[in-house]
């Protein structure tokens, strides 16, 4: 590049949320017309980094960040995303932010419409101007042309194929007068392979027009194909910043997941040989976590890990089997068929689950701990009820509920003022313990645990994992643990399945090479096109 100052440079960016370090001294720069591929696992800090770049209010609200962001060599500090947009940085999100009943043109020019002023504007302000639809259409066509794709400017978004929606979003960003830098967050996640090809081609076209691009994707071969440079984030640090030339998918995968410190693998219980849970061709319609075709088997007494990146469907497996989202396929536990789409029936089949959505599904935030822990057992199994008036009807057995709650408060070291405290007043870690207690109260033989350590502090994390191990070792409880944290899975599981695009990409032993996990997560079959670069 002839120009010496890079378009965007990030220097020494650090950010913590209340002491929880998310980004640590991240430094890299993006040159003009350059495509930088940004990769990292969930929670590596990509999202936070982009939030800092865009001046999202949440950053300032949580105490700001350290380091400098410079655009064109000048330090900038955006107060809101609109400042960033004005400065020429565009963002294309993973979820479509389009208006379904509007045409391509209307979406591309949304809130930046070309207008014709009239007398009413003098009275009531510029919002009374009439839209100049011809000019808007022209602008939209220009933007579409710059992308180098074919889009009908008059088509309604609701009638478009997915790929066209993605292009419409990008076109909207480059329609801005001074756009210099585009950030694309997982733009290919929802696209078919051929659509993704077209997208990558148009990104190259844009780069050749001098627009810089930060490309975030977990599809490593795409990164290798399109990026000029690759930045790898891991645990909040930029561990690698290398030119693409000479870099292989295998390398990236390794950098992405590889930890400096080896996880402490504790001694595992010995599980029996017989198959306890068998899942065949499971599909689950869980929005954002669609499971397409999953089959696996779990042995009795095993801790089976399911990993994979967010949105690939790993969470849908537990939710589908527990009957919370519509699904199909064949699930057997201990040789018996499990009814799908029937939460009550599943709970009566010696199964329990701990939801990943603690506040949304896992807890009755407004009710007491006693309620939270005993409710499921009461409803599913009719426990904690006491007959009144000679068995005429049954009432809640508040005493038994209190006893149960006290037992788990003690056992799981739940910090609370008493069992009558409301669940919403507890910290995240203690709430998670309540969720575990709720599941244990059902005395399950098979337990699904989704993201058990998400958003809780280190101490609580250790207790939660230790509790799972204890129940597995001492009561022979079979556990299916679903987590985004690979290290966590490797430290506790007998075997780990990696889910990608709604299917099991592979099942590995916890001791397997870290790069293998990375490749499975990135949807890169180990055997082919590994070294495409």
């Amino acid at each position: 590049m002839p120009n010496e100052t890079p378009l965007l440079s990030l220097e020494g960016i650090s950010k913590d949320f209340y002491g929880n370090v998310v980004l640590e001294d991240v430094t890299f720069s993006v040159g003009r017309g350059q495509i930088v591929g940004l990769v990292g696992e969930n929670g590596a800090g990509k999202t936070t980094l982009m939030r800092i770049l865009f001046g999202m209010p949440v950053i300032a609200e949580t105490g700001g960040f350290k380091g400098t962001v410079s655009l064109d060599g000048k330090p900038v500090a955006f107060k809101s995303p609109f400042d960033a947009l004005d400065a020429g940085i565009g963002m294309v999100h993973q979820e479509f932010s389009l208006i379904p009943g509007f045409t391509t043109t209307e979406n591309i020019t949304l809130n930046r419409e070309t207008m014709k002023s009239n007398l009413a504007c003098d009275i009531f302000g510029s919002r009374m101007s009439v839209l100049d639809r011809a000019a808007m259409r022209k602008r939209a066509s220009v933007a579409i042309e710059r992308l180098g794709v074919k889009l009908d400017p008059d088509m309604l978004v609701s009638e478009m194929p997915v790929g066209h929606k993605q292009f419409t979003e990008i076109a909207r960003e480059i329609d801005r007068a001074n756009v210099k830098l585009l950030v694309l967050d997982e733009p290919t996640a929802v696209l078919t392979e051929s659509e993704a090809e077209v997208l990558l081609a148009s990104l190259r076209t844009l780069a050749s027009q001098g627009i810089s691009i930060i490309f975030i994707s977990h599809r490593l071969h795409e990164i290798v194909k399109v990026a000029d440079r690759i930045v790898v984030l891991r645990d909040g640090k930029a561990v690698k910043d290398v030119p693409t030339a000479g870099t292989t998918v295998h390398d990236i995968a390794k950098w992405m997941v590889g930890r400096d410190v080896q996880a402490s693998v504790t001694e595992l219980s010995t599980c029996k040989e017989n198959t306890f849970l068998s899942v065949e061709h499971l599909w689950v319609d869980m929005p954002g976590e669609t499971v397409r075709d999953v089959s696996f088997e779990v042995r009795e007494g095993e801790i089976f890990g399911i990993g994979g990146l967010a949105g690939q469907g790993k969470l849908g497996i537990a939710n589908g089997i527990m009957g919370l989202f519509p699904g199909g396929g064949k699930v057997t536990v201990d040789g018996k068929d499990i009814p799908l789409n029937d939460p009550h029936g599943v709970l009566n089949s010696h199964m329990a689950s701990v939801s990943e959505d603690r506040r949304g599904v896992g807890l009755l935030l407004d009710e007491t701990l006693e309620w939270n822990i005993a409710f499921t057992a009461m409803q599913a199994k009719g426990e904690y009820l006491t007959p009144v008036l000679g068995g005429l009807f049954k009432l809640r057995d508040e005493k038994a509920m209190k006893k149960l709650a006290e037992q788990y408060v003690k056992q799981l070291e739940i910090k609370c003022t008493g069992t009558k405290q409301r669940a919403m007043e507890l910290s995240g870690g203690n709430q998670q313990k309540i969720c575990l207690a709720k599941a244990f109260a059902l005395n399950p033989r098979l337990l699904f645990v989704s993201e058990p350590t998400r958003g809780i502090d280190v101490g609580a994390k250790a207790i939660v994992l230790e509790t799972l191990r204890t129940y597995n070792r001492e009561f022979g409880m079979t556990i299916v643990m679903i987590s985004s944290e690979l290290e966590e899975l490797r430290s506790i599981c007998h075997r780990i399945a990696i889910v990608d695009e709604g299917k099991i990409a592979g099942i590995l032993a916890p001791t397997a090479d870290i790069a293998e996990f990375g490749l499975l997560m990135s949807g890169e079959p180990d055997d082919k096109n590994g070294d495409a670069a």
Binding site: L119, C121, D122, I123
Partner: protein, 123 residues
């Protein structure tokens, strides 16, 4: 631009006030008490002012009719067995009600309308 919009907004405000004044001044209703106390001609008369629905006034009685605005009004007096009388009168300015005596009407001469206090005459 702002100056222009100031002017336009000011004009709009002026228009608002002007229309209000117009509506108030030309739309204000006044009461005309039509007295039928003509001893010469016995019988009821029928009166219509400004083309409104005709109202019957019995002999020796009177009726109050609302008219819109001061200025000139057309009155039409119909009487059985006699030709209709059509005349014009002006409502006395600065008063809210007035009386019009049918007996005082002579063809060719001006119609006499005298201001009255509506409170004493009403009902």
């Amino acid at each position: 631009m702002t100056k222009r919009s100031m002017i336009v907004r000011g004009a709009l405000l002026a228009l608002y006030i002007a229309v209000g004044i117009w509506a108030y001044s030309t739309g204000k209703g006044y009461k005309i008490f039509v007295d039928n106390t003509d001893p010469a001609v016995a019988g009821a008369i029928t009166v219509a002012i400004d083309g409104a629905t005709p109202v019957k006034v019995r002999l020796g009685g009177y009726t109050g009719i609302m008219v819109k605005g001061t200025g000139s009004h057309r009155i039409k007096i119909m009487r059985e067995g006699a030709p209709d009388f059509i005349g014009e009168f002006r409502f006395p300015p600065e008063s809210t009600a007035a009386a019009l005596a049918v007996s005082g009407i002579r063809p060719g001469s001006e119609i006499v309308v005298t201001p009255v206090d509506p409170e004493t005459r009403d009902r």
